[in-house]
Symmetry: C2
Subunit: 319 residues, 2 copies
Amino acid sequence: MVKPYVVGIDIGGTNTVMGIVDARGSIIGSDSIKTQKYLIIEEYVDELCKHLTALINEVGGVDKIKGIGVGAPNGNFFNGTIEFAPNLPWKGVIHLAKMISERIGVPVSLTNDANAAAIGEMTYGAARGMKDFIMITLGTGVGSGIVANGQLIYGHDSFAGELGHVIVRRSNGRLCGCGRTGCLEAYTSATGVARTAREFLEIRKEDSELRRIPIQEITSKDVFDAAVKGDKLASEIFEFTGNILGEAFADFVAFSRPEAIILFGGLARSGDMIMKPIRESMERNLLAIYKNKIKLLFSELKESDAAVLGASALGWEAK
Amino acid sequence: MVKPYVVGIDIGGTNTVMGIVDARGSIIGSDSIKTQKYLIIEEYVDELCKHLTALINEVGGVDKIKGIGVGAPNGNFFNGTIEFAPNLPWKGVIHLAKMISERIGVPVSLTNDANAAAIGEMTYGAARGMKDFIMITLGTGVGSGIVANGQLIYGHDSFAGELGHVIVRRSNGRLCGCGRTGCLEAYTSATGVARTAREFLEIRKEDSELRRIPIQEITSKDVFDAAVKGDKLASEIFEFTGNILGEAFADFVAFSRPEAIILFGGLARSGDMIMKPIRESMERNLLAIYKNKIKLLFSELKESDAAVLGASALGWEAK
């Protein structure tokens, strides 16, 4: 029997969003529940599956569903588990893929959100036809999904691809949420950019749009808005951020020599403001054999849909 | 017809070594020619194939040969070419796989020496049964071969895995042979270790075995010999080197989460003298989810055979 659809589920700290997706990457039905409302995992899964079943019945029932893909923080692809996710209500190791699969009767695959984004981009987006690329998600944190030889690199235990935690500053590095210092994420996540803004405003003397905002409340969006208006200090914050990303990308290229590095997430919305300094820095730092060969691209998936599309792409392969 | 053997050819700047290898990794016949003696590539290949043919005839002729694998500096696996190798006599792009295959009548695969070492380790050595590992060759330079999902990562153009050229010191880094500064290779190759020795001897005041050697002539072997005798400065040079390798390895783990990192080459002969500081530094620098999980191993291939074995392993898959 033809099974024309997959289901994508994106589990975030606040919301869980789910959608039915067809082979062309169109979301033909979607719904959401509040993740934080369900402190007991069984109650969460029951509610999730109630909503899922209703969605699935609208498109003709489970016989139409090839598989379900889940993107979740700390998702372990090999075991279908969520493991010690700090931003989710459930502690320890959660066998989520099995719990959903038992209730719905369809195979379920699960991975972390950045890996899901990479698979989504390869299935429906900017990486269609590519066998070697790196997806970098620039949001509250910095995540990554690495594809080589047309396959996602999961590593020995499914936790490969933590490029937000390579060390970009070995001495006097910023403290990172992971407890170490100098991680890429501490500089180039949305919070890293806001921190750079506060540092610049304290050290530097010149006027800036950003001085009109209480210093502890400045966000990366404020920096973007100021830069768009021509604020020089705000532009320099993007140059500082792009420079560090470019340095890191040059090292990533020496690892897997991707055809492209694809940016996704809040900071990627800053467009050329961030892309130009990244590109300049990356080219300056690349080993000669890689110069002028690596594409830097933005995700082609609509941001509101990308998480569900990415997760759903896993569903085509779910077993 | 059963084809029980492969041929491995290792092309170095000085010598080209070739061997017939069986499925268990035993070299049952070998020979060599001087690489530098043949400035014209056709003459080199003619001589190489004359020696190869003699070797092959001794084991029963070309019908017994499944394939030929070649490991060469700047080897391009996708095209079977050697491209702009600075230490070889022939300039530009050399279609070596095709030239050998046409003369011998057996399929030929070619890759760079570090990739060949990784495939050799996976086929006959310490990485048997592993699907995710990183091979690091510590010799005159620092090379790498990266295996993920059981496959070598070649990247988009076959030049992935240049881990000797990730930047480990962003400010005041040492000049590297590649023209950039701060590369891993500038610190942890044999010449990097000798350079560290010279720097230590100039800056530091205490006595050392190494002061009995003319400072420009010190080699990494001298540093090892002194350290074995209990020389404190020599031990500190190994700690300095191991510390940088450990920092770099922690970042490599965040990329591909290997089951093991395997060391090969001259410096690896220093055993625990180099392994202990690497291990301590790597564990200190690893993201928490990776701590105490990554094996650090030495190559299990006999060093004199490893290059030919590594190259030969490619021969099993040659098409």
